[in-house]
Amino acid sequence: MRKIFDFHGGIHPPENKRQSQQGGIRDAGIPPELVLPLSQHIGAPAKPTVAVGDRVLKGQMIAEANGFVSVPVHAPTSGTVSAIEDRLIAHPSGLPAPCIVIASDGLDEWTELAGISDYRQLPKADLLNRIREAGIAGMGGAGFPTAVKLSTRPGSQVATLIINGTECEPYITADDILMRERPGRIVEGVKILQHLLAPGETLIGIEDNKPEAIAALRAATAGSNIEIVVFPTKYPSGGEKQLIEILTGKQVPSGGLPLDIGVICQNVGSVAAIADAVLLGQPLISRITTVTGEAVREPGNFSVLLGTPMNYLLARAGFQPDRNRRLVMGGPMMGFTVADAGVPIVKTSNCLLAPSEAELPSPPPAQACIRCGMCEQACPASLLPQQMFWFAQAREFEKLEQHKLFDCIECGACSWACPSNIPLVQYYRASKAEILQLRREHEKSEQARLRFEARQERIERDEAEKVAKRAARKLAAEKRAQEAATGGGETDPIQAAIDRARAKKAAQQAGDAADTNPRDKLEKAVTSTRQRLETASAKLAQAEAEGSDLVAALQTGVDKTRARLEAAEQALRDFTAAAEEAPLQETPVDPAAAAIARAIAARASEAALDPAEKSRKQLAALEQRLEKTRARLAASQGAGEEQKIIDALESSVSLLEEKVSAAKQQLNNPEGV
């Protein structure tokens, strides 16, 4: 007989499992609409591979894994993708998340499945890939991608494979019923895992309050090297770390993984899903969910398609909404309340608890902590919950970490035992999240500091380079002058400089001659602009034909290009006219002199330009911009765009209005300029 170990603490809440144990596994049927969140697991959300309007078949992948710690999502039945949008999901925040919505067609038509009976022939990497592709994530409640958990590092040896059939939370019987009704499936799955991991021993851990499940599994494992280990019922013995301690006497190091001590733990539900995935090729599209609580007339276990709205499932169990004030996904100890009864069942939904007010009364107001120590006696992680409560209240995060806050598994035993009804777990959750957020913020500010310093350094370096270059140039000039003075005694340095300048000018003139005629340049510009206008017009026409919302943008583009074309044509005309007027000027004029002349002319014209004229010009430009922004604002408002964009536009309109009025004032009062 195997030695059973005990863990510190634990509690014995009323089990309340009998209600849902009757009637075996019932089929929940196909709801008219299935909502599949892209993130039903821990890790990166899956990436949709279907588009709205696509027809999908049962078992077809509709979203693929996005990274290593991620799993794909499959269509639970055949139908049409009716939307890919944010919907409310089963999450304590009550916030929406991206989901794929499938309108089922009732045909329940399977996609082609490729099961393999002889998985031993398959390379292990392929086998693992199959498990990943089947979208299996820990079905006991945490939802960690199973394939990731199974990918052992090369060289690490799995001494013990533990199959978790504990199900220590009150009310839930989903794993119990699975073990009772489908022990063969579980054993097949275990054998696949044994092949994959080659563990030294394989244990199935079950609490002693499930005699039928124990008997069924004993019968199914007879003659195999799988050992069924039965141990006394105590919450939370189903916690991974606690179960490992019960069965092996070893503790998972803080911050480490079970694999660090040679253990891998898998839930029975996940194991059965692995068997389905490998032997039948069926991805994870349905699960067994317990529906229980006094607010349902016929509690029991249902085989539910993932994505089934909870109210559809509850209706199947005879839900009485008027008796129910809170709906819990998961058990009464670690489950969370959902904000709406319409949220979908996901891979981690092992239980749907609809209690009546009398059954699980609303939390009474918390009394003072009298440091009675009942929480400490209940804590399975040997923490000092009441001390952590004081620190959490005072937000002394350093002290909290010193008291090992992050080893808390949030099992709720302390809150359950607290005679003063203090929501201890909420204090720990909030503190953990806040500490993590502070860490993240600190990391970010550190990053910002590094970037800022790097930028400062770069700017300084550039500056220093410029200064150095200038100094070098100066030095070189001096050197040249010196050389000229000393090396060529008979040559006058001034004469040399003049020679150099002459040579340069000559070279320039030669280059100019080689250069293309300015007229050609202008002509080229006209043709290219015309070409651009043509393509833009074509695009616009196409957009108009399609009724795309880009029409407005394209229209402005076309208008702009047309204006540019006109300007280019004008420039060409002007040039030709000028050339005809003064054909003589074309060649011999020194370009340098011409440039100077142009600059002088420009300055003169600017000086001639009345300051009032200048202001007027500015005002006109401003008014034009204001007009444009106003138009955009109106368009945005009309299109019902997001508030923040409208706000931003409004503020820029008012800003421009201010500028316009300032410019007007200036115009009326030119002396003040």
């Binding site: 993130s39 999450h91 304590p92 925040s93 916030l95 998340a97 609303s362 939390p363 009474p364 107001p365 918390a366 009394q367 003072a368 959490a392 209240q393 937000r395 929501p423 909420q426 204090y427 959750r429 909030a430 503190s431 953990k432 999240a433 806040e434 957020q437 913020e441 970010k444 500010s445 550190e446 990053q447 910002a448 500091r449 970037r451 800022f452 310093e453 790097a454 930028r455 400062q456 943008a553 922004t629 923040k644 964009i645 931003a648 820029s652 800003l655």
Partner: protein, 205 residues
């Protein structure tokens, strides 16, 4: 010598005290040199507490200059992005009184990230030059964009933009950032332990 001492006990006492003082002084002096701890310079520690937005709202060109100024005696309430929590942390570090945020330098706002309305951007690179942490990508005459994960929300790019195409988008709560709040004793069903009822709460109740 001995006679002198025995005759004048005052001298004995003086001698004893002086020699004791000399000995202990030497020991302390030695210890101060020998066991000197290389502490983090105070400006460095202050800089660690500042939010590193490099926004310049404090009137200094970046967080480090302000940290150095605080170390030199500048007020600790000139950093709006750090907010009350930042002032609290600085007060704890420097062991000074917590003072309210100086309104002159702006007010604490929700964390935001700059966003360039790309179809309006004219590619002037002015915002790129203004960004203290190089969080804006782009080139002349090319559309610019903000690297959201690097943006500190300092607002410095808003002013130089000639076409006002930059918005500050407040960060929203997402599934990743959401968490349970600390139980609030002053709200809801647990109102009853709003034990330290302040006069304002009383009036509200």
């Amino acid at each position: 010598m001995f006679e002198l001492i025995s005759q004048y006990p005052l001298i004995a006492a003086l001698l004893a005290l002086v020699s004791l003082g000399a000995v202990f002084g030497a020991v302390l002096g030695f210890a101060a040199v020998r066991f000197k701890t290389e502490g983090n310079p105070i400006a460095e520690q202050i800089n660690d507490l500042l939010p590193q937005t490099q926004c310049g709202q404090c009137g200094y060109p970046g967080c480090r200059p302000y940290a150095e100024a605080i170390a030199g005696g500048e007020a600790i309430n000139k950093c709006p992005p750090g907010g009350e929590a930042g002032i609290q942390a600085l007060a704890d570090l420097l062991d000074v009184e917590v003072i309210p945020l100086d309104e002159e330098h702006g007010e604490e706002k929700v964390k935001a990230v700059a966003f360039i309305r790309e179809d309006e951007c004219i590619g002037c690179t002015k915002c790129i030059q203004a960004c203290p942490v190089d969080a804006i990508l782009g080139a002349a005459k090319q559309m610019h964009t903000v690297i959201a994960s690097e943006c500190t929300g300092c607002d410095l790019c808003l002013e130089p933009c000639p076409v006002d195409c930059i918005d500050m988008i407040p960060q929203q709560e997402s599934l990743q950032t959401w968490h349970w709040p600390l139980p609030d004793p002053a709200s809801g069903e647990s109102r009853i332990i709003a034990t330290d009822a302040t006069p304002t709460q009383d009036r509200a109740a």
